[in-house]
Symmetry: D2
């Protein structure tokens, strides 16, 4: 099961050719991760206070295959790939059925009041797993 949301590219996201500025695409990706975490019951604005950890970004990589334009309804899919102490959010975005951009955000599980990383707590792991792909090694590779 993959998490999915539709991002409508707005006039104010677009440049002088009518196509979305890259920083606005990153905004939409980031918003998607926020919507996803909320949907599984672990919103960013609660996990630190209520659970004592965060999921800071350590890497992002995106490839842009086709521009998206103001008015486009872009379907953004998010699939978490779970590691022991990290999770990679993998994205595929399509407009009119064709891939517009793909990429990932690598996030590490970090205690709110300390240094370094920690294992993904069981309840968060369980919630993420409902949307995870079969691979599940947290590095974005395909193992088979």
């Amino acid at each position: 099961m993959t998490y999915e949301r539709v991002w409508t590219v707005r006039f104010s996201d677009a440049d002088s050719f009518g196509i979305a500025h890259y920083p606005r695409i990153v905004d939409a990706v980031h918003e998607t991760s926020d919507m996803f975490m909320q949907s599984i019951g672990f919103p960013y604005w609660e996990i630190v206070e209520e659970h004592g950890y965060g999921l800071p970004l350590v890497e992002m990589n995106f490839e842009f295959e086709r521009p998206v334009e103001a008015g486009d309804e872009v379907t953004v899919e998010l699939t978490p790939d779970l590691g022991t102490r990290s999770v990679r959010f993998e994205y595929v975005a399509r407009s009119d059925g064709e891939v517009a951009f793909t990429g990932y955000e690598q996030r590490v599980c970090a205690p709110a009041d300390g240094e370094g990383s920690m294992e993904l707590p069981d309840d968060l792991r369980a919630a993420l797993s409902e949307y995870a792909d079969a691979d599940g090694d947290g590095d974005g590779s395909e193992d088979d």
Copy 2:
């Protein structure tokens, strides 16, 4: 009839006290105007090309009564107040039933290829009127 959308304040909208940065509130207001124009069939990204005019902003005024926080579901209402050559989008935003911010965007109808202003075309006027308040003098005043 008032146009209404729900804006979820995201983690990345919020400051070090957990409350939304003002520029992010303006983004949300602007997005609301974009969603509204799309909903009535006159999206910003089409009106210039297909209809030959735009609705540039000439003034904005907002008052902030209560802060909104990451995770808040903010109901943003938009009511157009029609003038002859302009339209004022009036906003009331509520969180938990209490007013968080109010304000307006004053927009003028301007030909795409010229100077100055023009009368609101009949089809746009009709579409806006479905959501307009009873006053309809385009200046935000209450006449009665």
Copy 3:
């Protein structure tokens, strides 16, 4: 004495006509207030922690007279108008010597750990006063 900075409108600020999106203008205004507060020794990111109060926005009003375009060097002037418990940041922005937009941000002095407002502390008042206009009643009116 007026605080002044130059804002270069970037490609990613501009719309399909090459003119700056309004939310990006608001970003630039807000950045200007941040730069100003830093320049007088009371940066936003320190005043709460070190001084125990903040200057939240209670109202903003802007009028847009001429569009600004990608590549424009926009001179943004900020003049504080001091009240007892508030300060109004008044803005005039010019491009090529002509006024592009004007407006103000009304800010109230609020204790970080409480409700309501408080008098502007003497040291902040003194720092703001170096850039203040002669009127100094904090309401943006001209008294003479």
Copy 4:
């Protein structure tokens, strides 16, 4: 020679822990590329109209090593690595002398009115080369 600018992290860039939101870092990177292109005489807002091509982004990759906080003066270095039909902008950002984030934007040279890619024009190549690293194969690899 490397292009360098200082980005001051603003209060409105920061999250509830005082550290910059990732989308705001991407804004700063993108602004840096815009400032760089302006500094070498090929601003984004002119190249399409005056030269007939653009440099759309095809990939971005960033690694975040240390958070940056409101008030930090972040030195962002940009070094172009030139290919035949593309250029990679390589970034290293430091705060207090330590690396905060690194990454690259891969950009392709594309004709404004057509499909596919084109060779970097000589004048643009010459301007970029003044800041380019010795490698110059446009793929970010170290060859020696």
